[in-house]
């Protein structure tokens, strides 16, 4: 009601063109913010989930740590590529630039976690503690999704919190379960939440 009341109160005269510019800026801002509801690609999440389950199955049969790490590194690169392609497709479908404000914010929020995960993986590998990486990856990915999801619909940070729970569970369960946790997290969670996003947030 505050907005309606203030509209009736005579205010200081504003030049017509300034008012028009302000209105155009408001439209632009609203459209960018409204894009938050569609920026994250649900279908991309489902495909990423499917490739993660395949990667977990494939990695689990690798005996050497290097081979295991190589499988998950390829999966990580593949996941980023799938996410990018689906996000671009989704942005195109609504005539929006991929890196409009919501997309930019999401990338900036998740990037530090991804960088930290890569660095810690290298450290753990050099220290001969590669078996701890599943928990670390899930936790850091969860942190990134929670941070990025702060600018998005509620389902996104909820997915991030689920990753945190899975990551914590992975750290405190037998190390041999690592691939199962990765399949459940990067596979299961992304498929489930991807489906929710497809159903409710435009694909």
């Amino acid at each position: 009601m505050a907005a309606l009341r203030s509209a009736r109160v005579p205010s200081e005269a504003v030049p017509i063109d300034s008012q028009a510019i302000a209105n155009l800026r408001y439209i632009r801002r609203t459209m960018e913010s409204a894009g938050e509801f569609t920026a994250i690609p649900g279908r991309g999440g489902i495909v990423m989930g499917a490739t993660a389950i395949a990667a977990a199955w494939f990695a689990h049969s690798r005996v050497h740590a290097e081979a295991w790490l190589a499988v998950w590194t390829i999966e990580a690169i593949l996941g980023v590529a799938i996410g990018y392609l689906f996000a671009r497709r989704k942005a195109q479908s609504i005539n929006k630039p991929l890196f409009a404000r919501p997309g930019r914010k999401f990338v900036l929020a998740i990037a530090p976690s991804i960088f930290t995960a890569a660095l810690l993986t290298l450290m753990l590998w050099r220290a001969g503690m590669i078996d701890y990486t599943p928990g670390v990856w899930l936790l850091l990915y969860g942190c990134g999704i929670v941070a990025g999801g702060a600018f998005s619909v509620r389902v996104v940070p909820v997915m991030g919190f689920c990753f945190l729970v899975f990551g914590a569970a992975a750290l405190f369960s037998p190390l041999a379960w690592g691939d199962a946790w990765l399949a459940a997290g990067f596979g299961g969670l992304q498929i489930v939440f991807g489906g929710v996003i497809v159903r409710n947030y435009g694909g």
């Binding site: 009601m1 907005a3 309606l4 509209a7 030049p15 017509i16 063109d17 028009a20 510019i21 209105n23 155009l24 408001y26 439209i27 609203t30 459209m31 913010s33 409204a34 894009g35 938050e36 509801f37 569609t38 609504i94 005539n95 929006k96 619909v153 435009g202």
Partner: protein
């Protein structure tokens, strides 16, 4: 279509540039011009559909305010509204109609013309 639709139709005839700023301002679609209604239409322009709660969160407004302005746009045929149930929860979903999209485009043209006309005068 309500009385607003007639009002909007009269006021949104195509512009013949160049116009004097006062004339351009007088021809603005007042139905779209109101800030919250402009927000609703802008948000729906970049989404296939949005629910009542999503619009409320996005535009940071109250239930009453949003429903009043959404109703006006609906009566003018600028947006469509469908009601359903998501489990036990009622769900109201809005979509921008073809007429609404045209009205928003016309409004944007008006704003640009207005800025041009003011700067040229």
């Amino acid at each position: 279509m309500g009385k607003n639709a007639t009002l909007a139709k009269d006021e949104t005839a195509p512009l013949k540039s160049p116009l004097r700023p006062e004339k351009a301002a007088a021809r603005i679609d007042r139905l779209v011009h109101e800030r919250l209604r402009l927000g609703i239409m802008s948000a729906l322009a970049v989404n296939a559909s949005l629910t009542f709660n999503e619009l409320k969160k996005l535009l940071e407004t109250t239930d009453g305010n949003l429903s009043v302005h959404a109703r006006k746009l609906e009566e003018a045929g600028y947006i469509s509204c469908s009601k359903s149930f998501d489990g036990r929860m009622p769900r109201t979903e809005y979509k921008l109609s073809a007429g609404g999209r045209k009205a928003l485009e016309r409004y944007l043209d008006h704003m640009e013309t207005l800025i041009r006309a003011t700067r040229q005068s």
